[in-house]
């Protein structure tokens, strides 16, 4: 009897260990990737946007040819059905309109499950602005950094325009403190859709970015063709672009 009891105990202990072990193993395997894509449009949803093409702005009537359009997305987190959040580690991504590849990034090791919301920051948090030399998306080699007035350039729009007195335009938007702060945290609930992460397929979350929005309430490049530091003009431009930046679809 005593022996049988011992065996039972042993089998329970080892059995549960086995189960626990297999559980943790299956957890390890059940992660997946998410692709975050940015689609660029100009002014209205029907006009696709690309660099080195001429566009006439519907509000300022400036003719604009963008040679560069880049911006930071950072601190991505997603919310599970049960309300818990999963944060991406070291979450800093530089988006460029140069190519579909450079306009997207992949988040990996996301626990499998259904997600109902995503939070993200347009710009770079103030701590990282002051944190000194860094690598990856935040490397100064990306030339998205002000060397004389410490801070990241959150958004860089450069190009040419005959309306500008110099023939070109360069808008470098940034600022992380006081009234110049343009670090913008946004959330989307995927318009009610569900994001399903599993090991087998990589879903894409698509966002819409509209470079024309920089001039939604800012003057023609004839009036101002450059911004090179934080301040009120940068706040206006950033608010217009960031405010309009939005979730499009999950695919």
């Amino acid at each position: 009897m005593k022996k049988l009891f011992k065996i039972t105990i042993y089998s329970i202990v080892f059995g549960s260990l086995f189960i626990l072990n297999s559980c943790s193993k299956s957890n390890e395997n059940s992660t997946g990737n998410i692709k975050i894509q940015n689609e660029f449009i100009f002014a209205v949803n029907t006009v696709p946007f690309a660099l080195n093409q001429k566009y006439v702005h519907p509000k300022t009537f400036d003719t604009l040819t963008y040679t560069q359009f880049r911006f930071y997305i950072s601190n991505v987190r997603i919310q599970k059905e049960d309300g818990s959040w999963w944060n991406e580690n070291e979450s800093y991504h530089l988006i460029s309109a140069k190519s579909a590849e450079e306009a997207s990034f992949t988040i990996s090791n996301v626990p499998a499950g259904n997600y109902t919301a995503m939070e993200y920051t347009l710009g770079v948090d103030s701590a990282r602005n002051m944190a000194g030399a860094q690598g990856g998306a935040l490397s100064v080699a990306n030339e998205m950094f002000w060397d004389w007035n410490t801070g990241y350039i959150f958004l860089k729009a450069e190009g040419n325009s005959p309306q500008s007195s110099t023939g070109s335009f360069a808008f470098h938007l940034g600022g992380f403190s006081g009234t110049n702060n343009i670090v913008t945290k946004k959330t989307t609930n995927f318009n009610g859709a569900k994001l399903t992460v599993s090991g087998s397929v990589t879903p894409s979350i698509v966002f819409l970015a509209n470079p024309a929005r920089l001039w939604h309430s800012s003057p023609s490049v004839a009036t101002r063709s450059t911004i090179h530091m934080p301040g009120a003009p940068a706040v206006t431009m950033a608010n217009d672009f960031y405010g309009n930046y939005s979730f499009k679809e999950i695919k």
Partner: protein
Amino acid sequence: MKWLFILFIFFLSCTPKAKEDFMAMPKHFPKPSYSIKINENKFELGKQLFFDPIFSKDSTISCGSCHHQDVAFADSRPFSLGVRNQVGKRNAPALQNLMWSKSFFWDGGVGNIELIPLNPITNHKELDESMVNIVFKLNRAQTYSSQIKTIYQTDTINSYQVLELLTQYQAALISDQSKFDDYLRGNSKLSTEEMQGYSLFQTKCGSCHEGPLQSNYSFRNNGIYKAGDTDLGRYEISIIESDKGKFKVPSLRNIELTAPYMHNSSLTSLEAVLNHYESGIHKTATLDSSLRNGILFQTGDREKIIAFLKTLTDREFLKTNRYRR
């Protein structure tokens, strides 16, 4: 257990003999703003980079061209010469005890010690180069490839590492061997005149030039700025009206040797500096409240204060081979 111990020994022997933290922190200084451990290998390579003209667009000048050790890594020229002999707009600051500063440059525009080099590198009137191109040139030249291999176990260098190496050198520029330091450590006394000067200095200048570092690193309008000046100092960074004409309070360490003085190099001697504070102050809206009536000196005060200021000279710092290429 035994093999764990053996593994441990093995691990120890595998670790390269890193000469971490080979610079001693001065005990009489406050806590530094940055906790940087100086690694000797990185410091040595950082030093070579500091003096390498590869950092300028036309490979003519280096960091060391405008920051000379014999004058506390400042420049005796009113305004340093950049590439193509272009003249800068502010006096090159001394490089010393940078780890204790919270912001850098006269306007405090740079907020982290590691980012100091970017400013002179990219300024068109200074080195006029880009970090991307410097990294490219360094990797092409391969001058330091064996050192890079030793330090980073890689064949090439990147911008992060270039900044780290320059930081290792600049952070190690610690001046703590002046007569004043000896006095603060309790190792020696100041002369009667120096002591009288120190006491005058504390009451008349010590609210800004405070402590062993000789600065509180705040931004003040000390009456050098005058109506019509184009250099607006801190305002150029903050765009706050009340910052117009304010500049960072510099440390007075090695002040005997770092003439000309002030952001615009307008004063050429310590006597001229004291005369400025007594009777040369320009009254503008942002003038520091402590300077509204100037600073009054009695007969003999100036000499005593200057005698004290000379105790801030650190001959060891100015001469040591450690900082030489």
